[in-house]
Assembly symmetry: C2
Homo-oligomer: 364 residues x 2
């Protein structure tokens, strides 16, 4: 993996990351192809939306279809028909959020599959092996998430275990990023940044954000954490987020993002537009002949009206979720392109004009 | 509406029908856009599959979003983004299959909406008005379906009412077809063909088929019914069917078809291929790197493997239903093009080569 920074604006950086399956411009947004599919969207549709890298989920893919099956198909990229880079998470987060009866030891975490109750064990070594079998371009190590708000004792032991597991994490293929944890505690973030940087990974992930902390606290702690990291390595803010979160984090020097929001919001009839967030189930759209967003050139905005999209949701036609997901991904793709342009033009501090008016804090 | 027959092969005809919203070649297959959407597929995808005309459903659209809303949006074509002809059914069939507490009188049929229990009344005049408001190109009159197997008394009274209603059916816009009923009783079919033809409609629908009768009986009765109809008018076999049914009916002189099968089968993981019907949930496809159908050039077959499609169904990813629906509609589109070509080349009696080996009678 090769990371080149070609422009800067304040602490923000624009550049490019090259992987074995192709390159992507940064700052980059990765839609979630959790189970080897971005819900409802084909790879060619993602590509047209300006998407250059996807995130897939190790936990889900290890259970179904299993990494050996994916490997037998030539890897994730070939399996899902995505001709580009893929980042896989470690699956640790899902073990803690989805799997019942999990047992954590220094060795790793043993849990029951949420699908059939089968006993599965993830160790730091095993999750890297799985990701290598999947053919991932950027891999994540196993870590133990810290709940928010953090209990000091739990945070301490989870961080120690995360760092001990990190020492055992080695990849022979792909780029294994380190994950800096530490919740909203500056001392823990500093300690974690140092512990992770000791192994000189090709990139750093910022974990444990968007866990319920206020946006201002997140912005501050993200900025503090990036200040602790080597300048020349890419930084990935895991699971974040809303357009405003992304803009704030880019300004703090973050290069990569993933979030389920554009597709999840799309499936629940919520559209990101340059006029703000639209709730398409609202009756006021029943005869609205305008496109979702007059400033958008995506296929959804070119071909369909708000009235038609609302109708699709009213009568449970799957075209509704598909078309709003497509639009939202285009919206995020456009946001990243404009952020990249603003960094190159030295105008990032002015913000992104059409983002200013967005009711981005609206709770869906 | 203008119908031109340009080639014949036995009783089969190939030609073209021109409507206010464009023309389509015959024999034609119409996918079902029941609620103003062909489930999961965009109009541009249907067009690429060789589809030139859609069917939409009067009952569903009258309830949601209501014909006045569709009319306010410039009609169905503009509303759903389909730049081509649309045929609407009368909604009568759904009144009988979906609506509770229906009451039939000579005046019409009063029923409760299956959605909210609201009382709605369909009369022969009203269903034509609704279809005119929808902006339909080809309209269907209200009829009373005859259950299969037919009870002689019920069949008699339903047929009388259907013919009485037909006399009251007048359209000022679009082409109002007549519907010939009569179940599997030759005398009733003959009587019905004469009663309907008395009004000299621009086309004839053959109703009451694919109701559970054996395929051979359907083939025979379809052929008998077409023999009773004027040669120069298009014939539409309602709700039929399987590829074999279509081929048999074309040979009997039928010009138009609609059926939910390609999309419903697609949603339930069944794919029509030149090797037969594939059940994609079958474990034998888990590592099958072949496309669904090596002889198909649709986007699903160009971009995805059987293994990936099976995975999508295994993990409930909506791409599975979408991609199989897309493929199946392409399969039907290709079938109609090959049937048209065979009629023009005078080879229809030899059959369609790749259809011969299809396990078309497989019950999904």
């Amino acid at each position: 993996m090769k990371f080149t920074i070609d422009s800067r604006c304040g602490k923000a950086r624009a550049g490019r990351i090259e992987t074995a399956h192709g390159a992507f411009d940064t700052p980059a947004f990765m839609p979630c192809g959790t189970k080897a599919a971005v819900k409802g969207l084909e790879p060619r549709e993602l590509r047209e939306a300006g998407i250059e890298i996807l995130l897939c989920n190790t936990y889900h893919l290890a259970l179904r279809p299993g990494e050996a099956t994916v490997a037998s198909q030539g890897g994730l990229q070939k399996f899902m028909g995505w001709n580009g880079p893929i980042l896989t998470d470690s699956g640790g987060y899902q073990v803690f959020s989805l799997a019942p009866l999990r047992k954590i030891t220094d060795e790793g975490v043993t849990f029951q599959s949420h699908l059939d109750g089968a006993t599965v064990k993830f160790t730091p070594e095993r999750v890297v092996e799985i990701q290598e079998a999947l053919g991932s371009d950027i891999l994540m190590p196993l870590d133990e998430p810290i709940p928010f708000p953090p209990d000091p004792k739990v945070a301490r032991s989870a961080l120690d275990r995360t760092h001990a597991w990190w020492k055992r994490s080695k990849a022979t293929k792909g780029a294994l990023f380190g994950i800096v944890q530490g919740s909203i505690v500056p001392e823990l973030r500093k300690e974690s940044a140092e512990a992770i940087a000791a192994a000189d990974p090709p990139g750093f992930a910022l974990g444990g954000f968007s866990m319920g902390e206020p946006a201002a606290q997140m912005d501050e702690m993200v900025a503090y954490t990036t200040s602790l990291l080597p300048d020349e390595k890419p930084r990935y803010l895991m699971g974040v987020g809303m357009p405003r979160d992304i803009l704030a984090a880019v300004r703090a020097g973050v290069d990569m993002f993933d979030c389920i929001l554009p597709t999840r919001m799309g499936r629940t009839a919520m559209a990101y537009t340059t006029e703000g967030l639209l709730r398409l189930r609202n009756a006021k759209f029943a005869r609205d002949e305008r496109p979702l967003d007059a400033a958008c050139e995506c296929p959804c905005c070119r071909h369909y009206t708000r009235a038609y999209l609302r109708h699709c949701f009213s009568v449970d036609e799957m075209l509704g979720p598909k078309l709003l997901s497509l639009h939202n991904v285009h919206h995020y793709g456009k946001l990243m392109k404009e952020i990249q342009r603003a960094i190159r033009n030295g105008t990032l501090e002015k913000g992104i004009a059409w983002l200013k008016d967005q009711s981005i804090s609206a709770n869906p």
